[in-house]
């Protein structure tokens, strides 16, 4: 498979502040790639450098092998869907969609035809002559998408395009976006701070924090084999406990839990000493006393689809457990003594 975007040790500084520290990423052609991270971690900055709105302080950006780091934005075959859409308020919907084609020098009939097809694709044909201000937020969002796709860019950049929509619409648009990416075959680079969005849509995810890429991998990799404490904590919910490492052999570690129990788990570190252990709440099961770890139920929280059970290990360490709210479930009473079992892959030893 071809590499669409190759980001090579890209650094960005604003005055004395470093927004990106030597970031390297390879994004494949036809991939739905997501940059995920908390606010201020540099996602937008990286996206703006790929689009050409921001100078690269150090490093290179290659688009299908060509170094584009010094090109003006209008010379890059890359289009952007802006967070606030940035539709031209003085132009009709169809003129907005046709703008890129016009700038590329296509004649009027071609522009009209292609822009019309784009509006069809996002189900907005009947709105062609309206002004952006006469559309709902979701409709504006789709116009922005059609406008960015109309010139058939090699890569589409999307900066939190769903964040301004309400929950229901956001969930519907996730599927629509994913479908659009598969239909057009264009590489999508999607920015979000919503991990659920990232997990459901992406082929691969780069988790970022404070200007560094922490981990790159498939949603499954990122969720099940986080490399460090930040990733484990940021993606999904987890129990983080500080543990003593007894031994590490290959990808398996023997660790000692705060209560004195010893378990075997996968590991992301090879250094001995004290480290953090992540235990996913949905991979813990409740059983009768005497099976697995001994614990006491503190509280049971009803979440609809799930129940969240807060327990305390003998020795005082609190843990949360998720169990599905199935039809014939026995809800444990607070104070009950129980046994806890770790399913396969529940625990993972993390690097710091």
């Amino acid at each position: 498979m071809q590499t669409a975007i190759d980001i090579r040790t890209v650094t960005k500084t604003y005055g004395t502040f470093t927004a990106l520290h030597g970031v390297s990423l390879s994004i494949m052609d036809n991939e739905f790639f997501t940059l995920l991270g908390p606010s201020g971690c540099g996602k937008t900055t990286l996206l703006r450098m790929i689009a050409g709105f921001e100078d690269v302080t150090k490093g290179d950006i290659l688009l299908f092998g060509q170094n584009i780091a010094a090109l003006d934005p209008n010379l890059r075959p890359v289009n952007t869907v802006f967070q606030q859409y940035a539709l031209f308020p003085h132009m009709s919907v169809i003129d907005n969609v046709a703008f890129g084609l016009k700038m590329k020098g296509f004649d009027l009939p071609t522009r009209r035809k292609r822009a019309g097809e784009m509006l069809d694709m996002v189900h907005l044909s009947s709105f062609a002559d309206r002004l952006p201000a006469q559309l709902s937020g979701g409709q504006q969002q789709r116009v922005a998408l059609a406008r960015a796709l109309a010139p058939q860019p090699k890569v589409l950049l999307l900066d939190e395009p769903l964040s301004a929509l309400d929950l229901k619409l956001r969930q519907a648009m996730r599927m629509e976006l994913k479908q659009l990416q598969q239909d057009t075959g264009i590489t999508f680079i999607f920015v979000t701070h919503d991990q659920e969005e990232a997990l459901t849509m992406s082929n691969r995810i780069a988790v970022m924090s404070a200007g560094h890429v922490q981990q790159i991998g498939t949603p499954r990799d990122i969720y099940e084999s986080p490399v460090n404490r930040f990733v484990a904590d940021f993606i999904g919910e987890t129990n983080l406990l500080e543990v003593e490492v007894a031994s590490i052999t290959g990808d398996l570690a023997q660790v000692i839990l705060p209560g004195g129990h010893s378990i075997t788990c996968s590991t992301a570190t090879h250094d001995p000493g004290r480290h953090h252990l992540s235990i996913r709440p949905e991979r813990l099961t409740l059983g009768p006393v005497g099976t697995g770890l001994e614990a006491t139920v503190d509280q049971v929280i009803y979440l609809g689809t799930d129940l969240q059970v807060l327990v305390r290990l003998d020795g005082g360490t609190p843990l949360q457990i998720r169990i599905q709210n199935a039809a014939r479930i026995e809800v444990p009473e607070p104070g009950t003594r129980i046994g806890l079992q770790l399913e396969e892959g529940a625990a993972r030893l993390l690097a710091d």
Binding site: A86, P89, H90
Partner: protein, 268 residues
Amino acid sequence: MALRSVRHYPGFFSIAMLCLIILYAPLIVVMVYSFNDSPSITNWGGLSLRWYFDVFTGPEAPRFRAAAWNSLTIAVLAATIATAIATAAALAMLRAGKFKGRSLTFALINLPLMVPEIVIAVATLIFFTMIGFTTGYLTILIAHITFCIPFAYLPIAARLQGIDGSYEAAARDLYATRAQSFFLVLLPLMAPGVISGYLLAFIISLDDFIITNFVKGAGMETLPTAIFGSVKQGIKPNIMAISTLMLGVSILFVTLSYLINRKGRQSP
């Protein structure tokens, strides 16, 4: 406790009325007496348009016509050039990022608003004399362009400040060159501010007396200096008619400027 509206303060109504009378009574008197059918400026002799005809056909008509032509052409030229410069200045101030001397530039652009007009007038005259420039039409035009710039700048900069940079970024992203992004996207969005600035500059130029009077040179007249010259020989009712006409033009332009600005705000 609810705050009392300022309207309920004691004496509010009478003070407001006093201010309104002081501001507008003279204007109303001039407007009413411009329709007076009597050569006296104090006695009412019935309603007529005779002084308006006098402005266009009477003994002073050629003088007024020449002055009006000068005023109008200077106002159009000065407003056009000042608006272009003010637009460029606003772009540099608000879109070029931080540059050395940015605050100084801002102060320089707006300085003419703070300096007393008479000081500018004297300084400009001295300047033209020192560089050996003959005073006349051109010196008036140059002076007008200079003091019109800050008036044009204010509405343009205010408008530009409210336009998010993402529109230009979107245009550039969609293959527009710098020039295309300016003319096809930014300028149309700025238009209400630009038009408003133009109208303001136009009216400021049309109205100016002090600076013009200093730099106009002998034999050159604009409408305000011509009116002043005529008044020096005694106030005749035709002055009231011509003043009323100028007031009408001013009100028209200021209203237009306001309406355009307001319309622009509704649809960014």
